[in-house]
Symmetry: C2
């Protein structure tokens, strides 16, 4: 399969490295140094158990990709999606599928500006990855990647699934892909967002009672918003799932925490903002998430204001 990956951040490099084992992969990035480094030295991946592997996908600047791809995998930050697609229209032909595994929800709305719904696939992955240095990522842990679409043909989804599976990536087609995306959103829009505001690790949210109360409130609002979309989640089960995750990953720091720490823009609009949007669509109040969006945007301004 000819696969173009938009964005060679930590996740783009991880998936690019894996997928290049059995597919023709090109990573597209705006950072010339990164592109040159990948073309020269490939991508190194440190696996959770310590082994380091090297993979050799190609890399290119925007617009300099390989022409029409079978699959465009979108891994840029949420706020860059529109721009990344606009600058790489040459990748998208009449048979190209576009898959987003980005954090948050609502990306398909942007993708629809560039490709018809029957060639848009959404998904979510449990893999995580962080950058050790240019061209070198730490694979923090694996897990299943879920993809799905109510508009795509089953055969198209199966072709994508098979390409991933051949490359060693555990992947499943989910009938209820929106549920899978919301399950991840529940964590990101509650716990992850709060670690950005508090500038702490995940475990703090269990150690501080008022912090946990806020986490719970954000989960309750998000579940109500998701159920407004007809998804039928059970509040107490979701709260228990987030609690378990915090118990197991207490020493972990989130990417949105690091974005605020380092003065970068965050993906809060695609995360907490997606909960607010679902709330508005369904007349479910989400005051907590509205505040989180505003708080995090204000914190993004701290360096520059």
């Amino acid at each position: 399969m000819k696969i173009a990956i938009l964005g060679s951040g930590a996740m783009g490099m991880l998936f690019g490295g894996y997928l290049s084992r059995q597919n023709e992969v090109v990573l597209i990035d705006t950072d010339r140094t990164k592109v040159d480094k990948i073309n020269r030295d490939g991508i190194r991946i440190r696996e959770p158990e310590g082994a380091v592997t090297t993979a050799c996908p190609k890399a290119a600047m925007p617009g300099g990709g390989p022409g029409e791809a079978d699959l465009v995998l979108v891994f840029v930050k949420a706020m860059d999606t529109r721009n990344a697609l606009a600058c790489n229209r040459n990748l998208i032909g009449p048979r190209t599928f576009v898959l987003t595994l980005q954090n948050g929800s609502g990306h398909d709305e942007v993708l629809k500006e560039f490709v018809p719904a029957e060639r848009i696939v959404i998904g979510t992955t449990r893999h995580n990855s962080s950058i050790i240095e240019a061209g070198f990522v730490r694979h923090g842990g694996g897990g299943t990647t879920f993809i799905g679409s109510k508009d795509c043909s089953p055969a198209a989804l199966e072709r994508i699934r098979d390409a991933f599976a051949r490359s060693g990536l555990e992947i499943r087609i989910a009938e209820d892909i929106r549920r899978k995306i919301w399950e991840k959103l529940f964590v990101n829009a509650s716990a992850s967002a709060l670690t950005a505001i508090f500038q702490t690790n995940l475990g703090f949210l269990l150690r501080s009672r008022p912090a946990w109360d806020l986490t719970e409130q954000l989960i309750r609002e998000a579940v109500a918003a998701a159920n407004g979309e007809g998804l039928g989640f059970e509040e107490e089960i979701v709260i228990g799932d987030v609690r378990s995750l915090l118990e197991n990953a207490g020493s972990g720091y989130t990417s949105i925490y690091a974005d605020i720490r380092d003065g970068r823009k965050t993906e809060v609009d695609a995360i907490s903002g997606a909960v607010v949007a679902a709330g508005k669509r369904n007349k479910v109040p989400t005051p907590g998430h509205e505040f989180v969006v505003a708080f995090i945007h204000a914190m993004e301004d701290k360096r520059s204001c």
Copy 2:
């Protein structure tokens, strides 16, 4: 007048210093070192224009005060009020008035546990003061102190007023003392509280658009809560007042900012919490202030959790 001041923090020392010029003043504090220092060296006050004056009130540990006072002036942190009064009952006799000039609102509810309503006076002051070192404060700026009570006799209020005025403190009896207290609360529950969360100076709230949007939202909620109490504020006027204050004091840092920076408990329950309480009494929603209370309590936990 025989005046006992509970709490020899920056404000207690400022008022203690001034009032001791014409009254018998004892500062009560739990910190033995502070008490000894004041008894030995007095209090030095650096005035805004640079002059330094020394005043010599007495100081004592809790329970060691001078017996029944004419006036007990409460200047401990909001969360210490109940404890401070319980440990200093010996100061309160059948003719003792108790005056709170503490930040926030709702302190009179605690005072009522110790003294009847007709001897409770509430107020607010525009003075500000910060500690330079033990026994030495910087008088940041003056302004009118307002006192009032719907239960006290006018004569009692006038005696307090006169004692303050003789000591060089500008003071007025306000018919609408709750309005004066809310005017200060509008600033503290919006701008000051946000500087604690963002860990910035006041000017940031004007420089960052999302930060200002939050400030405005908190003001709007607080005005609605105050108006639920029958106070009849005009939203746009209050917003304009807060904006002017930020324009003039942009480089200033708030005490609640410093509390969070230094890992201390804050007075958020008497500030944002007072807005939430007024909202609840009057069925006015204050979701922003509820979040601010929870956020700040969580941030108080950062050092210990």
